[in-house]
Symmetry: C2
């Protein structure tokens, strides 16, 4: 899939770092050496390096070189970056994940709903609420709104499986940007009704929006997950901006 030059280099270097060719705290070959090795321009090498720095794999210092800052001992728990999906976290612990759809309807966004979700007032939305099960324990809920006009073909059956599959697979849509807020909040009545809280009275709450390749917001989601079933890994670079 990645036919671009800088992506080839990115993948190759990434593999080498993960394989241990360039261990933690060691320096990579200089940019000019890499340019010679890959027979390409320095720009392409630098773009690959920028992507690796963004992943928290390396850090470069003017005048010295590029140092590997990925410590396999520390990053072991999480493969790469980002949010650990419910299904991932469940399987990692030996549970079988399952979704149960408890609400599926078409709604028109009124003023309140528009304000909550960020969709324009009057939009037709597909409103879905699911409960996530790990084996037979209800460990999370997911309430989502999709812009029906751009996400057609949603059915309870499709949703019970995976919305993501439908978007990327069937519709050929791509989510390019997503924005999320993570907080920890007290449980509410809805949580008490649907979740096996096991005595917990607070949980992880994630609210977010997703934009497709045309820059149109197509999703608003609120997920609420019981302690122990939420995990987020993040690596941030100093604001170079």
């Amino acid at each position: 899939m990645p036919k671009a030059v800088f992506q080839e280099i990115y993948q190759d270097l990434k593999c080498r770092i993960e394989r241990g060719d360039y261990p933690y705290q060691e320096f990579l070959p200089s940019e000019s050496e890499l340019t010679a090795y890959y027979s390409c321009s320095r720009s392409s090498v630098r773009r690959a390096l920028a992507a690796l720095a963004d992943d928290g794999y390396i850090q470069s210092q003017q005048g010295k070189g590029v140092r590997v800052i990925r410590n396999p001992l520390l990053e072991a728990p999480r493969g790469y970056d980002g949010l650990e999906t419910f299904a991932e976290i469940a399987r990692r612990r030996g549970f079988t994940p399952r979704n149960e759809v408890i609400c599926f309807e078409q709604t028109m966004a009124d003023e309140d709903l528009a304000h909550l979700t960020g969709f324009p007032e009057g939009s037709m939305l597909t409103h879905i609420m699911r409960v996530r099960f790990a084996d037979e324990r209800a460990v999370g809920t997911d309430e989502s709104y999709y812009l029906t006009a751009r996400v057609p073909g949603l059915t309870p059956e499709v949703v019970e499986r995976s919305v993501y599959e439908h978007l990327e697979g069937t519709l050929g849509m791509k989510i390019v940007t997503s924005k999320r807020t993570i907080t920890v909040e007290a449980v509410n009545d809805t949580d008490l009704e649907h979740l096996d809280l096991d005595g917990f009275n607070a949980l992880a709450v994630m609210r977010g929006n997703a934009f497709d390749n045309e820059g149109i917001m197509v999703e608003y989601t609120e997920t609420r997950q019981v302690p122990g079933f939420f995990s987020l890994y993040e690596t941030t670079l100093r604001p170079a901006h």
Copy 2:
């Protein structure tokens, strides 16, 4: 401060978007128009645009243009991106933040501590534990280890104020990369002892490392914050890598 061309453009465009010159869902001028307007190369324009896309301000589409995807109505709560500092969240709610240092010592990293923190075994570390107060309520703890060799001059007095100030100000050090894991966990005995949990039995836990400009890991931190006093905003781009 930002004298680089691409940073000037980045700042200017960012301001214009925030000011509403280019509203939500509108298109920016084309890259060639921006190139002409700023009298610079297309590369510099593109670099500024890349930074804005990284911030979740814009999204570009090949063949069409660059669309503004920053909705001021949605992003209002959080100014920009990242973790909302304890002090920020406290002040935003009208509380007065305060730190209390309850542990300050030099330690040598043994095998267990090295495994926990990621520092090499045998490193001399400054071990600090603080309790965060909002007005008079204990709402969080912060247990940190700093590599003494590279973070000298720490004292309880300095720490009570702000470690960050000491690093960036007094020492002139820059934190370039930081890596964090966020989870929600059950309270433990230490939490019960130091925090005013107000009945909560779960809280936000953030564990992370920070690297200085030379790529040396200088900090390990574990913060534990009561529900309502933790907030993280994040915007992610599709893995272009």
